[in-house]
């Protein structure tokens, strides 16, 4: 049921489906994968699939692969020549609406509502990953904190061969 008041303006409905961001990683290295695995398994040892090339070559993967949730965009991405350097540094939360040139809804708080990921091919050393994020949609409902705005964004990662690495949907709750 649609609430009497709403955060969702006609302008917000018009930008659903538009691209929010696009990033390209530097080539993934063995060390990137090894360090990630050491960090997320600490203090247990990381599985050999993530750091032992000889071991990994004998598995069905034929070589080292990254943990599925590995983030190749940490620290720095390939600079976009169309983006002035000072705009590359985001300060604080930048709403999807502001990214698309609209006013942000008049909400006071936000929380991460959750994530859904479908995985495709594994990431490997040497891969270059491109992420394209889109605004997937809005919904809202009354909750114990008042009217809550649910914003879903969808990110698709592909490798240099055009293969899908993963598709993720994240929900941002604002109220």
């Amino acid at each position: 049921m649609t609430p009497d008041r709403t955060y969702i303006t006609p302008q917000m409905r018009d930008v659903v489906g538009l691209e929010l961001r696009r990033s390209t990683s530097f080539p993934i290295t063995d060390s990137d994968i090894r360090r990630w695995a050491l960090a997320v398994y600490y203090p247990e040892p990381a599985p050999r699939l993530f750091w032992d090339a000889d071991y990994a070559a004998a598995t069905s993967h034929g070589g080292i692969v990254a943990p599925e949730e590995f983030n190749p965009f940490a620290w720095m991405t390939v600079p976009d020549p169309d983006t002035p350097p000072r705009e590359r540094v985001a300060i604080g939360f930048v709403s999807p609406e502001e990214t698309l040139g609209l006013e942000r809804p008049d909400t006071q708080s936000l929380i991460n509502g959750g994530t859904e990921v479908d995985y495709g091919v594994r990431m490997r050393p040497g891969d270059v990953i491109t992420s394209v994020g889109r605004l997937a949609g809005y919904s809202e409902r009354e909750g114990r904190l008042g009217l809550m705005l649910f914003t879903t964004t969808e990110d698709t990662w592909t490798n240099q061969r055009g293969e899908t690495v993963k598709t993720s949907r994240s929900t941002l709750i604002r109220y």
Binding site: A39, V40, P43, T59, N112
Partner: protein, 140 residues
Amino acid sequence: MAVDRNAVTVGTVLVPLIRTTGFHNWNRYAAVNDEFVPIHMDDEAGRAQGFAGAFGMGNLMWSYLHNVLREWMGDDGRIVSVTCSFRAPNNRGMTVEARGTVTAVRHEDGERFVDLELAVVDHDAPDTVLVPATATVVLA
């Protein structure tokens, strides 16, 4: 050792991952994910946001859930999908437990798909669910 795929049935419980959490593992994760956020590094910053102190990254608990799946499946298993929501903070000093239970087993196109209910809970107060989650995997 990978799971015996023929022994997997509804109700099969995965070996849990248990971690006492704090700056020793959060800082390592911050270093690989470039996630140097004050609420994860400074008790005062956490309290200023209404929490008991510094608390761990949701992304690291996401990794813990994947670790449980990988450890259970072995190298040749495949994670098809994972969903989760973040319900409660992983406070500093808390021992967390990432765990999973098989909810369905089915065959499709010659592959064995397994659905699981997962969660990260407070190991010392297991009714406190920090991260409810689900997953679907394919066993080799």
